[in-house]
Amino acid sequence: MIRPLLLALLMLSAAHSAAAKGGDGVVSHKSAPTALDPGKAYLLFRSSTAKSGMINIEHVFLRIPTEAEIEAWKAARQAAYDADLPKLQKKAKGGPVPTIGEYSFDYAGPGNVFAIDAGDFIEDGEMRQFLVEVPAGDYVLYGISVGGRGVSTCNCLGTVRFAAKAGEMTLLGSLYADKVHKESPIPNLEDNVGPSMFNYGFILGQALVPANDATPVPAALAALPRERAEFRAVGLFHEPGAPSINRLAPIPGILGYDRGKVIDLRTGQPAN
C-alpha cells in the first residue's frame, strides 16, 4: 500500500510546474530541417521508450558551462546572498549563518541542464530517433528523468562527455534507460542492481551504445553533415537534488570501472 504513495510523492517532488521542458537554445526537431544552422549544434541519437507507469523516462544532458557562464552564476549568487544576508542573520537568531556555499537561490540565467522530451522525436519506432538542436559545446550524459522536470537519477558515479560542434549533427548512437532495481527488458543496462532498492524510492539506469557504421540515420537527414561523437569517461560528480545515484553502464573501449573508480578505457587511467 505504501509503495504507490511513496512513488507518487517522489514523482510530485520531482515535478516543477512552472518550468518548460527543453532549455535555453534547446529545440527538438519533429521534422527534418532542409539545412542546418551553422551557428547551432545538433545531437542525433536513438532512444529506448521505457516508461515508469504512464510517465516517460527521459535522458538528461548537461552542457559544460563556459567560464563566463560560471562567473555570471557566481555573481548572481553573491548578489542574492548579499541581499538575503540580513534575513539569514535574523533567521539564525545568533546561531551560525549559512555561508555562501550553503546558500540556495533561484538562478534566472540561461540553463545548461535539460531533458529531452520523449514525445519530441523525429522518427518513431521501437527505438525512436531524436534530432536536438543545442548550443555548441561539450556535453555530459548527466542522468535520467521520470517526466523530464527533475533529475531522478544522476550518473554521479561515472559517465561520458562529448563535443558537439556547430553546423553539423553529432551522432551519439543509441541511448537506453529504464528502472533497474530489477531485470529490465531494455537491453544494455546494468539492471537488477539489488533487491529491496524499490522499497522507498527507485533507481534508474542508462546505457549508451556509441554510433558505428551500422547505426541507422533517418533518410530525411542522410544528406546533412554529420560526425560521430567521440566519448571520454567522466569521473564522480555530485547532484544533491537527485533522489538516486547510479553510473552509466560500461562501454567497451571507452568507459570502465574498477571498484569505485571510473576508468577511461582509452588510456587505462582513472577518469577525472
Binding site: A14, A19, L62, G101, S104, A115, S145, P240, S244, G260
Partner: protein, 186 residues
C-alpha cells in the same frame, strides 16, 4: 590534472562539506583501535535480521581500515541532501549547488495542513532512509562490500552524529572480522 579537473575535484570535496562535516579521504585517519563500536550482534535478535534491509552495515573481507574509510567517506558524500533539482536549470559543474527543500502548502486549510504534516512525519523518515540506503548501496556494492544486519539502535549510533566518527566506526566494522550473521540478501 588540468585546471578544470582540479576545480571539479575541489567542488566534489566542497559539495561533501556543503551541508555536513563529511569526512573526506584526505582527513587524517583515526587509530582504529581507539574507535568504539556499538554492539551489532543479532544472534538473539530475529527482528534485526528481518529488518536487515533497512538497518545494516557494510563489510568487505579484502579491505584495510584506510581503504574502507576512504570508500565510506566518498560514498557518504553523496548523501548531501537537497530539494529535487528542477530542469531545465543551471549547474555550474565546477561548483557545488545547494537546492534547499522548500515546504509548500498551497491554499489549504489548517486541518489539511496538519494531516499532511502527520502523514509526512510517518513517511518522510522512511523515505529518506530508503533513499540514503539506496545511494550507499549503489556506491559501495560495486566496491565489493556486502550488507550485514544491525539492531536499529546500533544502526542509529552508526549513522547519526559526528560524520568523522560515523565514518571511522563504519570503516572499522567494514574492515574488521567477518560478521557471524548472514549477509542481507533482500
Amino acid at each position: 590534472m588540468g585546471t578544470r579537473q582540479k576545480t571539479r575535484l575541489a567542488a566534489m570535496l566542497a559539495g561533501a562539506l556543503m551541508t555536513t562535516t563529511t569526512a573526506t579521504a584526505q582527513d587524517a585517519r583515526p587509530d582504529p583501535a581507539a574507535v568504539v563500536l556499538p554492539d551489532v550482534s543479532v544472534d538473539q535478535n530475529p527482528k534485526a535480521v528481518e529488518d536487515g534491509f533497512k538497518f545494516f552495515y557494510f563489510h568487505n573481507p579484502s579491505v584495510s581500515f584506510d581503504e574502507a574509510y576512504a570508500d565510506i567517506a566518498e560514498c557518504r558524500s553523496f548523501l548531501v541532501s537537497g530539494a529535487p533539482a528542477a530542469i531545465p536549470g543551471f549547474r555550474p559543474w565546477v561548483e557545488p549547488v545547494r537546492h534547499d527543500v522548500k515546504r509548500q502548502y498551497p491554499g489549504v486549510g489548517l486541518l489539511d495542513m496538519a494531516m499532511r504534516s502527520a502523514i509526512a512525519s510517518i513517511i518522510l523518515p522512511k523515505l529518506e532512509r530508503g533513499i540514503r540506503n539506496n545511494k550507499l548501496r549503489r556506491c559501495m556494492e560495486p566496491r565489493g562490500y556486502a550488507r550485514y544486519p544491525a539492531p536499529e539502535a546500533a544502526w542509529q549510533t552508526l549513522n547519526e552524529g559526528d560524520e568523522a566518527t560515523l565514518v571511522a566506526m563504519q570503516a572499522k566494522l567494514a574492515s574488521g572480522a567477518r560478521p557471524n550473521a548472514a549477509q542481507v540478501s533482500e
